[in-house]
Assembly symmetry: C2
Homo-oligomer: 406 residues x 2
C-alpha cells in the first residue's frame, strides 16, 4: 500500500509533549482523543478509534479500523481496540500506573464534539474499571491547536493558492443571468481538481459548510442559522444557506465567500464582485469594510487583545453609521469580526466580545468585516492572516479590492 | 423574503403525533430534538435551536437564529430561545404541567448526535429547574424515520434521477490516464449544477462523505476507517478515503459509488466500470455481486428479517468461495449488506447481523454487495430499493450491469 506518514514525526512528538505539559499543570492523568480531527492532529492518522495519551509516558492509538493503515500513518504505537466494552479493562492493563487503588483519576476528552451516547458508555467503562470520570478537556485542545507550526502554515498557504487560482479561473464565467448555483458549481470544480477534499470541516454542532457561499443581491441578505455574517436563500429548507437557484443580476453585490481544504487545512476568503456598479450606500459600506480590515491588520500583533480588535471595529462601524448593518442585520447579527482557521474553519481565537486572550505568534485568523442591507445584499472582504513577531502577514493570495465586471 | 414552508404541514403534524405516541408508550414526558436533521424532520425548519415536543400538547421550536426565517419555514410555533442558561426555566413556564412538584420526569433527546458538552449543560439546566434528567431517545427517532412517506420517496427519486444523469453526462470523459480526482470533480460538477447540496449527511460520529467514491484498481482495495465495503487511497492522511490522484488504467475495475443530496434526501448507487476487460476472477466476483442483489431484491418483502437477508448473502459468498473478499478484505471487512437511506446516508434498517427487525412498507434500503481483491481492486453493485406491499421496488435509475468502455 502506498501509504506514508503525513505529519512529520517530530511534530507529532512535540504536540503530544505539549498536551502532556498541559495535563501536568491541570492535574489531569490522561487524555482520550475521540474526534477524527483531534486524533489526526496528535497522531498523524485519522483512522477510527481512540487516541490515549497519559500525562507521562507513551501514547497508544487504539484502532478499530483500519489497523493496517493506521500503522503506516502514525509514529504513535497502534493497538487493536477490540471489543469496546473491554476498553476500560484494556487501559488498566496497558497503563497499570493509572489504576492505583484508591487514587481518583481525571481523564479528559474532547467533550465538545463527542456524542453524549458514546460519552456515557465511555464514562461507564472507565468508572467500572475504577479509572475515573471523564472531564471536558476540549478547551485545552483548542488552545494548543491555535498556534500553528511552520509546516501547517505551508499547508494553509497551499489552500490559499488553490482558492485564488479557482476564483481566477472562474471569474470569466461570472456573467449576468447565470445562477448562483451554476457559478458556484464551476468554482467548486476548479477547487476540487486542485485537491480540495470536498468539505471544510467545522467543529460547531449542526454547522455545515462545503466550500463557502456565493450569494448575490437580496438573496445574500436573507438570514439563516449559520453563525456567520451572511446567510443566503440556499437550496430549500433542508439546505437553508449559501447558493440558491437565483439568477445573478447587474448592479448588485455578489459576495464570494469561499474556501477549500487542502491536505487537511482550510483557507477562508471573501471578495465582493459586481457586474456594473454598486449602489452608493453599498459602495460606501464596502469601503468601510476595507478600512476595518486594514485597521485590524495593523492591530494584530502579538499581545493585542482579541476583544479589543472587535470593539475597535464596532467603533468604526458606529462612526460610519453602519452599526445596524455590521455582520448581519438586526436580530440576526453575528457577534464577531474574525475567527481562527486551521484543520477546522471555526478554530480559536475569535475576534469577539469576551475573548480576552492576547494574540500569539503562530495564530492564523480570518478577518471578515461585512455589511448586510436587507433587500439589497451583503458587501465585505475577508483575508486570512498569520500572526508573526512583526505583526499580521496576509496568507490570502487574491488581490484586495472590489471586483468590477463589465 | 422568498421563503416558503417545505415539508407539507400535514406531514409535520403526523410526524409529531407519531413521536408523541411513542413517548406515551415509553413513558416519556417530552422530547428535545437538537440535531439539525432531526429538527428539520419534525418541524420543516433547520434553523438553530431546540425543538421541544411534549408527550401531549403543542410543540415549540425554541430558536436562536434565525427566528424570522424559522417562522416562515415551520408550522410549529416558534419562540425565541433567549439565554441558554434560562432554558430550563423557560420550559417550566411554557409547559407548567411538566413541572409538577415531586413528579420525576423523563425527557428524551437525540443523544447519539448531541455533543457531551451540550448534553451536560442541558442536563444541568433541566435538573436545576427540577425537570428531570435526559434519557437517550435516539433509537426511537431512527425507527420513526425508517418509514418514508410518499412525499419523501419523491425526493429520493429526484436524487436518484440526478445521480443517473450526472453519471451519464460524465462517462464519456472516463478515459485511460485521467486521475480518479479529475473524473470525480467532473461527476460532482454535474451533481452540483442539478441541485446537490454539496454533502451527503451522515449520522455516525467521525464519518464523512460528500458524493461517495470513485476508486480504481489497487487503490480501491486500500482499507480505511470508513464503515463501508471499499476504502480508497484518498488525498492523504487528512482525507484517507475515496478518490486519490492515481491514474485510471485499462483492465482494472473502476468502482463508481456515488450519490447526492437533493432537497435534503440522499441516494446511493454503485456501478463497476472497466476500460477494456476485467481479470477473470474479478469478472466472476462481479457476477456474484449481481446474483446477490437479485436474491436480496426478491427477499425484501414486508416481514422479511434484515439479518436473514445478510446471512443468505454470506452463504452465497461461501458457495462462490468469496467469503474472504466480501465487503472488504480480512480484518477490514464491513459487516453488512445494505443500509437505510433518507435524510442521512446511514439510516436504519441495516441488513446486518443482529438486526432482527422485520422489513416494513416504506423503508428505503441501499443494497451494496461488493468484493475486495487486495492489489487488484473492488467490484460490485448497489441499488436503492423501496419496500412496498408487493416487494422491493428499485429507486435507482441507472441501468444495471458492468459498464464496459472501449
Amino acid at each position: 500500500m502506498d501509504i506514508k506518514p503525513d505529519i512529520p514525526t517530530e511534530l507529532v512528538r512535540q504536540r503530544i509533549e505539549r498536551l502532556q505539559k498541559v495535563m501536568q499543570s491541570e492535574s489531569m492523568d490522561a487524555f482520550i482523543l475521540t474526534q477524527n480531527i483531534d486524533i489526526y492532529y496528535f497522531s498523524g492518522s485519522m483512522q477510527n478509534g481512540f487516541l490515549f495519551i497519559p500525562c507521562i509516558g507513551e501514547a497508544t492509538f487504539y484502532v478499530r479500523r483500519s489497523i493496517q493503515r493506521a500503522k503506516l500513518e502514525t509514529p504513535v504505537q497502534v493497538a487493536e481496540l477490540g471489543a469496546f466494552r473491554q476498553f476500560g479493562q484494556t487501559l488498566r492493563t496497558d497503563y497499570p500506573s493509572l489504576g492505583r487503588e484508591g487514587a481518583k483519576l481525571r481523564i479528559a476528552a474532547d467533550l465538545d464534539v463527542l456524542p453524549a451516547q458514546i460519552y456515557l458508555k465511555l464514562s461507564e467503562l472507565l468508572s467500572s474499571a475504577r479509572l475515573c470520570e471523564l472531564v471536558d478537556g476540549s478547551a485545552h485542545i483548542r488552545k494548543l491547536r491555535m498556534i500553528k507550526a511552520a509546516w501547517e502554515i505551508g499547508r494553509i498557504e497551499s489552500a490559499a493558492r488553490v482558492v485564488a487560482e479557482a476564483l481566477e479561473e472562474s471569474l470569466n464565467e461570472l456573467k449576468e443571468g447565470i445562477s448562483e448555483l451554476a457559478w458556484m458549481a464551476r468554482v467548486e470544480y476548479e477547487l476540487r481538481v486542485r485537491g480540495h477534499i470536498g468539505m471544510m470541516r467545522l467543529r460547531g454542532y449542526n454547522q455545515e459548510i462545503t466550500t463557502g457561499m456565493v450569494i448575490s443581491g437580496a438573496a445574500a441578505a436573507v438570514p439563516t442559522y449559520f453563525d456567520g455574517p451572511a446567510g443566503g436563500l440556499g437550496l430549500g429548507a433542508a439546505s437553508p444557506q449559501s447558493v440558491s437557484r437565483s439568477t445573478i443580476h447587474r448592479d448588485v453585490p455578489i459576495l464570494i465567500d469561499i474556501g477549500c481544504c487542502i491536505d487537511g487545512y482550510v483557507i477562508d476568503q471573501t471578495r465582493t464582485a459586481v457586474i456594473g456598479e454598486l449602489p452608493e450606500a453599498l459602495m460606501r459600506a464596502y469601503e468601510v469594510s476595507e478600512s476595518i480590515i486594514v485597521a485590524a491588520e495593523s492591530q494584530m500583533i502579538p499581545g493585542a487583545i482579541c476583544t479589543k480588535i472587535y470593539e475597535d471595529a464596532l467603533q468604526q462601524c458606529a462612526a460610519a453609521q453602519l452599526s445596524d448593518h455590521f455582520m448581519g442585520y438586526g436580530a440576526d447579527q453575528a457577534k464577531f469580526l474574525g475567527h481562527g482557521i486551521g484543520l477546522e474553519i471555526d478554530e480559536w481565537p475569535v475576534l469577539a466580545k469576551g475573548f480576552n486572550m492576547p494574540l500569539e505568534e503562530g495564530m492564523v485568523i480570518a478577518v471578515e468585516p461585512k455589511f448586510t442591507f436587507p433587500g439589497q445584499g451583503v458587501v465585505g472582504i475577508e483575508n486570512s492572516y498569520l500572526i508573526t513577531e512583526h505583526g499580521a502577514r496576509a496568507l490570502t493570495f487574491t488581490k484586495t479590492g472590489l471586483i468590477v465586471l463589465p
